[in-house]
């Protein structure tokens, strides 16, 4: 394993979703050499994921077509000589002192040194466990949307959507328009909370309008929306064949005796989103606790600089805000980074900053209205797996908590939670909820898992030669024992 000289660029951007693309376009137009990296086969992220089926000619239902079209217009900006878009490329580690990223892509493993780095890695969907939640046919609501728009595939016939927040109703409309039958939407918050949300959005007519249009379509299609309910169980042996829903009390605890069984073949879950903070975490960027969304996120100043010199963060990784926030923050981070390199971007950063703060305020009020409630932890009965990868049950986790193991980094070696292939991306936030529920600790007192390289499993044989010749770092520093061997 001979260390190799890293490739170089001026601005490296990790994640080609709304924030990353917006940053790349602004910085490249200002004259910067930009390298835009994404793990996926195409740019767009999840929100602006484009169909991969054909170059043209698709008749998508209305609710998907406008999103695909907006994405296409944004992505057209990437056609600029200053932007080197590298897809199918995983950034699996970062060395913050030298601003070096470690990549694994079609041409093998490489290192890339930049003058500025922008992390715009997006978010993951938040879910909560219940008996049967690992059965095939239980999918994340965003995963269902991806099947519809990227694959033109309706992943089931008769659906239950469960969780909390506006995405459930939007996804239901998209599934309906694609020909699905929707048995019900179960929304954790009581109906009164939903109306209060609407009043908070007074003046933000576009957001209100979208919500009202969705509700109208669901009413026309006679889709029951069960407020103050939760999914309680997925039925089926080898795949989903039904679902049990229950009423919940004010804390989200299921009320015994309120069970209703629904005949469905698919269950879509969404309890909001969790910021993807692995790479900023490895770089040592400070985090803050976002009370509106109940999760830790990357801390930045008003120019979107993190606590580590030369590293910016934009979009969901700085706290859940949605695509509008991501687009504005991408522009702002791209512009500030370009200006720091002595270039003159065609933007007014003060105005961008103001708009971004306004958009953040709207997003925050939405987040506050759709909290995950602690009583939901009662659904994770002792036999229910909490860590899907290592198959660790809620009972094993509770036994450890009773022994005084209350931090995630302690639960990990104690029980093996978070040690599997998803590296805690799914169970991490669930565990924080369970620990809080069991111990009475506040969510912010329970630290998330420490992110470690490689941020996703990589082939050891591929990354073996990727260590950059930056002087003091060794192969062991970068890989430890976390990689996945091919055989």
């Amino acid at each position: 394993m001979t260390p190799q000289k890293p490739d170089t660029t001026e601005i490296a951007i990790v994640g080609a979703g709304p924030a990353g693309v917006a940053a790349a376009v602004i910085a490249a137009r200002a004259g910067a050499a930009v390298t835009l990296l994404d793990e996926n086969t195409n740019a767009g992220g999840q929100y602006y994921k484009q169909p991969t089926l054909t170059e043209s000619g698709h008749k998508y239902p209305n609710s998907l077509a406008s999103n695909i079209q907006q994405g296409r217009e944004l992505l057209a900006g990437l056609n600029h000589p200053g932007i080197d878009l590298q897809c199918d490329t995983l950034v699996w580690n970062v060395s913050p002192e030298e601003l070096v990223l470690y990549l694994c892509g079609p041409t093998g493993a490489r290192a890339l040194q930049a003058k500025r780095i922008i992390f715009s890695a997006g978010a993951y969907e938040r879910v909560m466990p219940f008996p049967g939640w690992t059965l095939p046919g239980v999918i994340m609501a965003g995963g269902a949307q991806l099947m519809l728009k990227a694959q033109g595939l309706l992943p089931g016939r008769r659906f239950l959507l469960a969780g909390t927040g506006p995405l459930l109703q939007l996804a239901a409309v998209q599934l309906l328009e694609a020909g699905a039958d929707i048995a019900a939407i179960v929304e954790l918050q009581p109906r009164a909370e939903f109306l209060r949300t609407a009043s908070k959005l007074w003046g933000h007519w576009d957001k209100l309008g979208q919500g009202i249009a969705n509700q109208k379509k669901l009413l026309q299609a006679k889709v029951p929306i069960k407020y103050g309910h939760t999914i309680a169980r997925a039925l089926g042996e080898n795949e989903v064949s039904g679902a049990v829903i229950m009423k919940v009390d004010g804390d989200g605890r299921p009320i015994p005796g309120s069970e209703t069984t629904l005949e469905v073949d698919s269950i879509c879950l969404n309890y909001g989103f969790i910021p993807a903070t692995e790479l900023p975490g490895i770089a040592g960027c400070a985090q803050y606790f976002d009370y509106n969304f109940g999760a830790y996120a990357t801390k930045t100043n008003e120019n979107l600089e993190t606590s580590v010199a030369g590293i910016f963060a934009a979009g969901e990784t700085c706290g859940i805000g949605g695509a509008d926030v991501a687009l504005l923050e991408g522009q702002l981070a791209g512009a500030v980074a370009a200006r720091q390199l002595g270039l003159d971007p065609d933007t007014d950063e003060a105005t961008l900053c103001q708009k971004q703060l306004q958009a953040r305020t709207v997003a925050a009020s939405l987040g506050k209205m759709f909290p995950v409630k602690p009583g939901l932890c009662a659904l994770a009965t002792d036999g229910v797996p909490v860590c899907r990868c290592e198959e660790i049950s809620a009972g094993e986790v509770r036994a450890a908590i009773r022994m005084g193991v209350v931090q995630l980094n302690q639960l990990k070696p104690w029980t093996r939670v978070g040690m599997g292939r998803c590296q805690g991306r799914i169970c991490g936030e669930i565990l924080r909820q369970i620990v809080a529920h069991e111990t009475g600790l506040a969510l912010q007192e329970i630290q998330p898992f420490t992110a470690r390289a490689p941020v996703k499993p990589v082939l050891l044989e591929e990354v073996g030669g990727a260590v950059a010749d930056t002087g003091e770092l060794t192969w062991e520093d970068h890989v430890g024992g976390y990689g996945v061997a091919r055989t």
């Binding site: 008749k59 095939p136 519809l148 595939l153 309706l154 992943p155």
Partner: protein
Amino acid sequence: MKAQRINGIERGEPITITVNGKEIQAYAGESIAAALLAAGQRNIHQSVKGGAPRGYFCGMGMCFDCVATVDGIPNVRTCVTQVHPGCIVETSS
């Protein structure tokens, strides 16, 4: 349960892939997971410890529940890997 390719959405060239020794129909640009779901196979992966059925879950390559052996390479995420002509997929369940 067979997933349904949505009518009116133009698809790429038809492609034949082999899943557990059986040929199934797919289209260029589709993910392996989409082709499996359309062929009625939702049960893609058998969990290592408990042998429990798993399938398409997150759809964005983070949960690793839809992994299969593709062209001899184990642990390939079928939701973020496209089909190609002659593609050989072996699922553990």
